[in-house]
């Protein structure tokens, strides 16, 4: 593994960001709007419920963590889409770059871009709406790790889908977080869900994070075993996602998809 090659992909992403407000704004713009919207909803609900339950931590914290997960996933896919949009596959895959160096470049690009979104959200949620992350304590670290790892895994799978199905499959990628969110129990306990949905929830790492988060907000503690399960599942999904991407890439090499990738290349 040559770090220079992986660094080249991150540098490319920084070059693209530097010269493009259309790329910079979504890094923090949409998540900031989400925080503002949910911040005011939370404030309003707090005035009408008066239950003593910390709605800011439960709702706004959930939005922030979920948006972080979404930004991580999209950080991987948008770095991949740059090669789709600029029709760069032939140039980039005819170089010494290995498939693992390429995937690592997507992941590091995502770390750079999602960190910007996370910082913007933290600043806004704490300064404007009084969300204190100190209340979660050190367990925030495994929360972020599980969401980050699952976001990376989903981003790699989504990139593989677009590589296999063609550029138009990009439209299948954007709604993936929305499809997962009902099962992940972002805003409600998993016990609210029907049995079959709970079964799906238990194989989704974010579900363990949001259950843990609600336990802390209710005055309890996040279950370390559950969080370990979540982390283990997320790491397993990263390995499976890499295997899946490698399989799709091999298929693309065999069929000539890499060499003639275009909007009409669906096969």
């Amino acid at each position: 593994m040559h770090l220079n090659r992986t660094a080249a992909l991150v540098l490319r992403q920084l070059y693209l960001l530097r010269g493009s407000p259309a790329r910079i704004l979504p890094l923090f713009g949409w998540v900031a709007i989400d925080i503002v919207l949910w911040g005011f909803i939370t404030r309003y609900l707090s005035t009408i419920t008066r239950s003593g339950f910390n709605l800011v931590a439960a709702l706004l914290g959930a939005v922030l963590l979920w948006d972080f997960f979404t930004r991580v996933m999209q950080g991987v896919t948008t770095a991949f889409f740059e090669d789709v949009w600029s029709r760069n596959f032939l140039n980039i895959f005819a170089t010494p770059l290995s498939i693992w160096e390429y995937v690592a470049g997507l992941v590091f690009s995502s770390i750079a871009t999602s960190s910007i979104g996370l910082i913007a959200m933290l600043l806004l949620a704490t300064t404007v709406f009084g969300l204190s992350f100190f209340m979660y304590g050190l367990v925030l670290v495994p929360f972020l790790f599980v969401l980050f790892a699952f976001g990376i895994a989903l981003g790699i799978v989504a990139s593989a889908m677009v590589l296999r199905l063609g550029p138009a499959a990009e439209w299948l990628v954007w709604p993936i977080p929305a499809l997962i969110s009902p099962f992940a129990g972002v805003f409600y306990p998993l016990s609210t869900l029907p049995r079959w949905m709970q079964v799906v929830s238990h194989v989704l790492p974010p579900a363990y994070v949001f259950e843990g988060m609600r336990a802390i907000v209710s005055g309890g503690a996040a279950s370390p075993i559950a969080l370990l399960w979540g982390a283990g599942l997320a790491v397993l999904y990263i390995l499976l996602a890499c295997w899946f991407f490698a399989r799709i890439f091999q298929h693309a090499l065999r069929t000539g998809l890499i060499a003639r990738y275009s909007a009409e290349s669906l096969s």
């Binding site: 040559h2 032939l90 005819a94 090499l253 000539g256």
Partner: protein
């Protein structure tokens, strides 16, 4: 009396085939490119030239056969083999959303080019790209993009340079300069060049040897200056047209 030893091979293709379902795009071809040699890969559209080049570039998996780049088997030593290779193709422009400099830096890092900053400046000067240095390459004319593509192709001083119609969008004066540069590159260094073109005048000017592909097979090969005469044709273009229209007549020769 001393015999000159043959120049070392930079590319050895042996029994290379590519089958797409019912179509045999490349049919068990074998050829070499030696150091300091420019080999023309000629043939009508659909003959298998680009399929062959894609297999040598590692972006298309052969159905059978082997490709060795400087004694490195591409199938087992992909990265090391491709470190010694580069290419320019009219259908593969560099990302238009990066500037000339950014593109060269990005690919230079991937190819692991030493003293990259100096190398980039030298190539920018050599290909007359100074005034476009900080312009996005997507806004360059097709001729300027071709020059940028060639600068990228020479970034890592490749041992094997693949050029797929490199002068297709250039005006005659710039095309002549590019041909001169490539000839000098092949003559001075340790590289070999595989060149495809539909411009037979250019092929005669540049190539030491040509391979005529038809229906995925090598039909003819030889010196572009003498090959037409050997097959009763006045010019290379006439021979090309015969290969395209009546390949069976040549196969019977």
């Amino acid at each position: 009396m001393e015999h000159a030893s043959p120049a070392p091979k930079v590319l050895s293709v042996t029994g290379l085939s590519k089958q797409y379902r019912d179509t045999l795009a490349v049919d068990s071809i074998s050829f070499d490119v030696a150091r300091n040699e420019i080999v023309g890969l000629l043939g009508p559209n659909g003959a298998g030239k680009t399929t062959t080049i894609n297999m040598i570039l590692g972006v298309l998996e052969p159905s059978s056969g082997s490709i060795r780049i400087q004694d490195l088997d591409l199938a087992t030593h992909r990265s090391q083999a491709l470190e010694r290779t580069n290419f320019a193709a009219v259908y593969a422009p560099l990302p238009g959303n990066l500037t000339v400099y950014q593109n060269l830096r990005f690919f230079g890092l991937i190819y692991g080019v030493g003293h990259l900053a100096e190398r980039i400046e030298a190539l920018i000067k050599e290909f007359d790209l100074e005034k476009f240095r900080d312009l996005r390459s997507g806004v360059l004319s097709s001729g300027e993009q071709t020059r940028l593509g060639l600068a990228k192709a020479l970034l890592n001083s490749p041992e094997l340079l693949l050029l797929d119609e490199p002068t297709a969008s250039l005006d005659p004066a710039i095309a002549r300069d590019i041909r001169t540069k490539i000839r000098e590159f092949a003559a001075q260094g340790t590289a070999g060049v595989l060149w495809t073109s539909h411009n037979m005048y250019e092929v005669e000017q540049v190539c030491h040897r040509v391979l005529f592909l038809s229906h995925g097979k090598i039909l003819l090969q030889g010196d572009p200056k003498t090959l037409p005469g050997e097959h009763g044709k006045a010019t290379l273009e006439e021979l090309f047209i015969t290969v395209a229209r009546e390949p069976l007549a040549l196969a019977r020769d």
